[in-house]
């Protein structure tokens, strides 16, 4: 029995439970951190094994409760899922490192919530059941509420309320979609759904379209596609740096779901539903690119700007996934990891700067520099280069791969929006960098001495680690793209997925 696919869910859950048990005062912060890091290490080890398996083309599956996939819930660790889990784990390690520079002691239940969040993310990526996906979405979301709000105050609460209400509404829509899908198709297992959709009677097509359209709306809402991105910049901007960094992967869950649904349920074999909604996603993705780039230009505060960068990179991914070619999807998946790491790094750098500035209100507005800015400046430069898609880092490579693979019919739309918005982002990011690190500290002199705190080394290391990922991803772009290309091809092989899952026999029960 190979238990690997479920461990990325169970390990953080156990970590969370143990974290709760050691929350009492007599256990120090050290014990809590030890628990968190042990869990993280175990998770990393498991993920490494999963990656090794997936890279060999092996699809890890797990029949929970030993029921056949159609009856119970099956986990599927295919290339895509493993890629997402791996990205999450890497990101989480850096984010946890940053949090260990102090935030974890200020936010109640931080470690438990953090582990729960990982559990939700990993579960969402691994599950092969649509309702189970919903459940893990909720685990992830509610943990994110906790991480976002724990230790917070003031306007953050109102913002948190927005975030929660928006997500609860989206989740309700998710449920409506699931209810309709089950009512029409009689199953929730994704492979079974794919089969039943491919044999859909004509009378049900419109209804299933409505349900799947709703599903896509929900995912797009989580992934911040126009016009549903409005919640993101403020929310992310208000999050503590470590949390915002982890949130970088949250929009990607929505994207993951879009990709999964559109390849599995709306793939070439889906009959009347083949390719449903793809053109809309493409156009909206392109529009989001521009709007988000305008947001980057128009933000007066660094974290808000980074929030728009998140939206912008998500929009790039929408374009990549909506194009649907193996080349673009492969490039998109590479870009997805890049986007997680760079935006997360930027959030951490914003945190470093905030700490440097010390004062509470103007902390992260795009102005004022302070002495000793070299290292954050260097980090910001690298992250800015990466995020804006300047060579030689991942942003450039991913984007070049995407543009190179764009099918001729869409070149006009895609290239123009991607390149123009890139230029806008370069302008915005360079302005931010100039103002943050070069601008003469005129206002500071007026304001008198500002209480500053030196950046904690651990926090700086965390940001550096993330940029280390980015550099490594640039150097090893080829093997990574080979992996993501293979992922894209695997995704196109819907029949393979379906047959594999349906043919899977329980260990001890009758199939």
């Amino acid at each position: 029995m190979n238990h690997l696919p479920i461990l990325p869910v169970l390990i953080p859950m156990a970590g969370a439970a143990v974290s709760l048990m050691v929350e009492r005062r007599r256990f120090g912060a050290g014990v809590r951190r030890l628990v968190a890091w042990l869990s993280m290490a175990a998770l990393a080890a498991v993920v490494a094994m999963l990656v090794a398996d997936a890279a060999r083309g092996q699809v890890g599956t797990y029949l929970l409760g030993d029921w056949p996939a159609r009856l119970g819930i099956a986990l599927v660790a295919d290339r895509l899922s493993v890629w997402m889990v791996a990205v999450t784990t890497l990101l989480a390690a850096a984010s946890l490192l940053y949090a260990c520079s102090g935030w974890d002691r200020r936010a109640p239940h931080f470690h438990a919530l953090f582990q729960f969040q990982l559990m939700g993310l990993n579960g969402a990526f691994l599950t092969g059941d649509l309702f189970n996906l919903f459940v893990f979405f909720e685990v992830m979301l509610i943990a994110s509420y906790g991480l976002l709000l724990s230790g917070g105050r003031g306007l953050g609460m109102r913002n948190g309320f927005h975030y929660v209400v928006f997500n609860v509404t989206a989740s309700s829509l998710f449920l409506i979609a699931l209810g309709l899908l089950y009512g029409l198709l009689g199953t929730l297992n994704m492979a079974e759904l794919a089969v039943r959709i491919s044999q859909l009677p004509a009378a049900n097509v419109a209804l299933v379209k409505a349900a799947i359209g709703l599903l896509l709306v929900v995912f797009c809402a989580k992934a911040a596609l126009l016009p549903l991105y409005l919640w993101l910049p403020d929310t992310y901007a208000r999050a503590p740096a470590a949390v915002a960094a982890l949130f970088a992967v949250m929009t990607k869950v929505g994207l993951y779901a879009v990709l999964r649904v559109s390849t599995l349920l709306l793939g070439a074999g889906a009959g009347a539903l083949a390719g449903y909604g793809q053109s809309w996603l493409l156009v909206l993705g392109a529009a989001t690119l521009i709007v988000a780039a305008l947001g980057v230009l128009g933000s007066a505060r660094l974290p808000v700007m980074i929030g728009y960068l998140v939206v912008w990179s998500a929009a790039t991914l929408f374009v990549a996934f909506a194009l649907g070619e193996p080349g673009t999807v492969g490039a998109g998946l590479y870009y997805l990891a890049h986007s997680c790491f760079t935006t997360a790094a930027l959030f951490l750098i914003a945190g470093l700067i905030r700490r440097r500035h010390g004062s509470a209100d103007q902390d992260d507005s795009l102005a004022a520099a302070l002495p000793g800015r070299t290292w954050p400046g260097v980090l910001f430069l690298i992250a800015g280069v990466a995020v804006a898609g300047l060579p030689p880092l991942t942003g450039f490579l991913g984007k070049a791969a995407l543009l190179a693979a764009t099918p001729p019919s869409q070149v006009g739309l895609v290239w123009s929006t991607v390149l123009v918005s890139s230029l806008m982002v370069i302008i915005g990011v360079s302005r931010a960098g100039v103002r943050l690190f070069w601008q003469a500290p005129a206002r500071l002199e007026e304001a008198g001495p500002v209480r500053t705190a030196p950046a904690r080394p651990v926090a700086t290391i965390a940001a550096t680690v993330l940029l280390g990922y980015v550099v490594a991803m640039s150097v090893f772009a080829q093997p990574l793209l080979v992996y993501t290309d293979a992922t894209a091809r695997q995704l196109q092989d819907t029949a393979g997925y379906v047959d594999h899952l349906r043919g899977l026999a329980p260990a001890r029960r009758q199939p």
């Binding site: 309702f131 459940v135 909720e138 509610i142 509420y145 709000l149 105050r153 003031g154 306007l155 609460m157 109102r158 948190g160 309320f161 927005h162 929660v164 209400v165 997500n167 609860v168 509404t169 989740s171 309700s172 449920l175 409506i176 699931l178 209810g179 309709l180 089950y182 009512g183 029409l184 929730l188």
Partner: protein, 126 residues
């Protein structure tokens, strides 16, 4: 019966949507509560409404949809109820905190009522 259930879902949805678009946090939460009713009924309807055939196996009776209702939507709704309750709880607490910290319960704070504007924002919490 289908019509009754469908109209009930529709009316609850409409009430929910109207309330959700209100400007006060509490009203929005009420809207979410109604939305969760509507949602739950809709999922439940996916199993097709049947009277008096609870899915509790009686030995000797054939286990099919002629004798029992579809149990799966029920399990799904159960999960959904619980999750939506958890979310409601969090939003309620947030509404309280937001009101205490920001001096108003308007969700967007465009037009806090005069008496709310008077109270000192920024205090409260912690």
């Amino acid at each position: 019966m289908e019509l009754a259930l469908a109209t009930a879902i529709g009316v609850l949805t409409a009430v929910a949507v109207y309330l959700m678009l209100r400007a006060r946090s509490f009203d929005v939460i009420l809207g979410l509560t109604f939305l969760s009713y509507a949602t739950n009924l809709l999922i439940f309807a996916g199993g097709r409404p049947v009277v008096g055939k609870a899915p509790i196996i009686v030995e000797g009776m054939p286990a099919d949809l002629a004798h029992y209702t579809d149990p799966l939507p029920q399990a799904l709704v159960l999960t959904a109820i619980v999750i939506s309750f958890a979310m409601t709880a969090v939003s309620i607490v947030l509404a309280m905190r937001s009101r205490a910290d920001n001096g108003g319960d308007h969700v967007d704070a465009h037009d806090a009522a005069p008496e709310e504007a008077r109270s000192n924002p920024g205090g409260g919490g912690r």
